[in-house]
């Protein structure tokens, strides 16, 4: 069995048997998929070989520090933005830990992602800059590209803490084929104790599914799919009408296909309980599954052809074809120019 398959099985069923000689590859692959903290939390209290226990404790400790850093970064953003009086929604990993969801347990968290109403973007950017956030790089094209075509400001960094913030005004680029209702995301937001917000449970699942399937080439997608597994389990346990509400919400956002696929993939890989009517297999699921499990026992990405297909797809779903050609041409030209610059510097 490939270690990556063993990883998904163990995340779903932590007490499953693991041969002694399988642990090294398992931990290596979990690290590569940014799932070692989540795995360590799932295995807390489960009997493991003596040399494995300290490695799991180490992964839990690392995740605890990431959680702390993420929450503090959210707090610093809250302090900077509180005077504006606009709702600030935490997204992704920071939202999961801030809301105390099981999806946040052991989760790796990098940048701070927040969503604000589109009309507040300018004021939000100004307030963040006044509080010390700066541009990551000075690059006219990328900057214009972010502002015009993507669903976020160019990323800003806080130099003293070396943390990035991505400020979004919706959850998919305006160029994508699906156009989620951004105003509805804000209107449905759930307040946290400290004045920040998170998406409603249904919107959180919609966002996680779009992030996994409609916004990128699925690199690192297994972690995002595990988020979806955790969210679906927790929300369905807490609210017996959750799946009905999700069905309705998905229709409002026009996000039926990706959310349904995400639910099917979560069911297939993590055994997520999914209602029967959501489970009818659709063509293509097998390819997605192959892509999500494209990692060998040494932690390297494999299945290069599958990955390339998803890379091309990721650009196609984000942009209309003419725009895509323009973007890739400018990217290519810049890369070539950058390389010539380096050659000059070296000679």
């Amino acid at each position: 069995m490939r270690a990556i398959e063993r990883l998904t099985e163990l995340l779903a069923h932590p007490t499953g048997p693991v041969p002694d000689d399988a642990w090294t590859a398992l931990l290596c692959v979990a690290r590569a998929e940014q799932l070692s903290g989540a795995l360590a939390h799932r295995l807390a209290g489960v009997a493991v070989p003596a040399p494995v226990a300290p490695l799991l404790a180490e992964a839990r400790g690392a995740a605890a520090e990431q959680r702390r850093a993420a929450l503090f970064e959210a707090e610093m953003a809250r302090r900077a933005l509180a005077p504006l009086g606009v709702p600030v929604l935490l997204l992704k990993g920071t939202a999961y830990v801030a809301a105390g969801l099981s999806a946040g347990r052991g989760r790796a968290i990098g940048d701070l992602d927040v969503l604000v109403p589109r009309e507040a973007l300018g004021a939000v950017e100004a307030a963040l800059r006044a509080a010390g956030w700066r541009d990551v790089k000075d690059d006219g094209y990328d900057d214009a590209y972010y502002r015009r075509w993507m669903h976020e400001l160019p990323p800003l960094v806080h130099p003293a803490r070396d943390r990035l913030i991505d400020v979004h005004h919706t959850i998919l680029p305006p160029t994508a084929r699906i156009a989620p209702d951004a105003a509805a995301l804000v209107a449905g937001a759930v307040p946290l104790r400290d004045g920040l917000f998170v998406l409603s449970p249904e919107d959180m699942v919609v966002h996680a599914a779009l992030h996994l399937l409609a916004d990128g080439d699925l690199a690192g997608g297994l972690r995002n799919l595990f988020d979806i597994d955790r969210l679906l389990r927790e929300f369905a346990d807490a609210d017996e009408d959750f799946w009905l509400k999700l069905t309705a919400r998905v229709a409002e956002h026009g996000a039926g296909a990706p959310v349904a696929r995400a639910a099917r993939l979560a069911h297939a890989l993590f055994g997520t309980p999914v209602p029967g009517e959501w489970r009818a297999p659709a063509p293509g699921d097998g390819v997605f599954r192959r892509r999500l499990l494209a990692r060998d026992d040494w932690g390297r990405e494999d299945r290069a052809a599958t990955r390339l297909a998803f890379y091309v797809r990721s650009h196609a779903i984000r942009m209309p074809p003419a725009l895509l050609a323009r973007h890739l041409a400018i990217k290519g030209w810049k890369r070539w120019r950058g390389r010539r610059g380096k050659d000059r510097a070296r000679s």
Binding site: C28, E58, G61, E65
Partner: protein, 284 residues
């Protein structure tokens, strides 16, 4: 991977895979007396930069659990250096069970001297010479401070000797085992020295930190007392994982600098350096 081996150095287990036989064979020979871990903490990969570069002008890309995006590839002749660099990287950026100090250390009577400084300060040479003078070698790259007990755990990897030290140590340690001379590396000429049998056999025996030294090579002999605040700042800079450890790291480091005397030392040549360490040790 086509070729693979596993070794444990102190508390850290490594799994090393390679597209070529030579680096793995060399590791197996030089690390022959080191135990094989049951579970590896870290995976290291030495792979061809392009599939055809396995045979044509073979070039090694450094890989593993953690990688630096701009790490330059190394020629196959420098495979041992590539493996050591990739192993060090996994420890520096990945290990969190101890406070890591970028330092050399040597033990006597259960207590140890810790030598920390930038590359070129003479950590490797001094620790090798202390080993030759009868000290137990604990490591020349990382010292691992136990977060609960404050003890220093050995990480006795191969000693990485550079440039002038290569000939000097070969002359002064005629009975020792060395790796191949690696010429023209990014760090100049490098040769690896295998720690002696005692250092390897006792790699799981920790020592109590007793003296902290900040050596500087090349200046006239001088000793300066380093106060707790300065030692703390210098050691946060010498630690690759201090910021990742949170409060446990803070506790371990403040305890270390308040309990252990610290000195900055300048020395003009390695004999003087060893004498200085011995003098300061005896004055404790």
């Amino acid at each position: 991977m086509r070729h693979a081996t596993s070794r444990r150095i102190g508390p850290i287990g490594f799994r090393i895979g390679s597209d070529w036989r030579a680096p793995v064979a060399l590791l197996d020979a030089l690390y022959a007396d080191y135990p094989v871990p049951t579970v590896a903490d870290a995976t290291v990969r030495l792979t061809a930069t392009r599939p055809w570069r396995r045979r044509v002008r073979p070039a090694i890309a450094l890989g593993g659990d953690l990688m630096l995006p701009d790490a330059a590839p190394l020629p196959l002749e420098h495979g041992l250096l590539a493996a050591e660099m990739a192993m060090n990287l996994q420890v520096a950026l990945g290990h969190r069970r101890h406070l890591l100090l970028h330092a050399a250390a040597a033990e006597r009577d259960g207590r140890c001297v810790i030598l920390t400084g930038e590359s070129g300060a003479g950590k490797s040479t001094l620790s090798a010479l202390l080993m030759a003078a009868g000290w137990r070698f604990l490591g020349d790259e990382f010292v691992l401070i136990d977060l609960a007990s404050g003890m220093a755990r050995p990480f006795p990897r191969l000693v990485s000797l550079k440039n002038e030290s290569v000939a000097e140590l070969a002359r002064r340690m005629p009975g020792a085992r060395f790796g191949p001379v690696l010429q023209g590396t990014p760090k100049g000429t490098i040769r690896h020295l295998v720690p002696d049998a005692r250092a390897v056999a006792a790699m799981d025996v920790p020592a109590t930190p007793a003296l902290l030294l900040f050596p500087r090579f090349g200046a006239a002999r001088a000793v300066r007392r380093v106060d707790e605040g300065e030692a703390f700042v210098r050691l946060t800079q010498a630690s690759t994982n201090y910021a990742l450890l949170g409060e446990a790291g803070f506790d371990a480091l403040t305890r270390l600098v308040t309990r252990v005397p610290a000195r900055a030392i300048d020395y003009a040549d390695s004999d003087e350096g060893v004498t200085l360490v011995e003098d300061l040790w005896c004055a404790l």
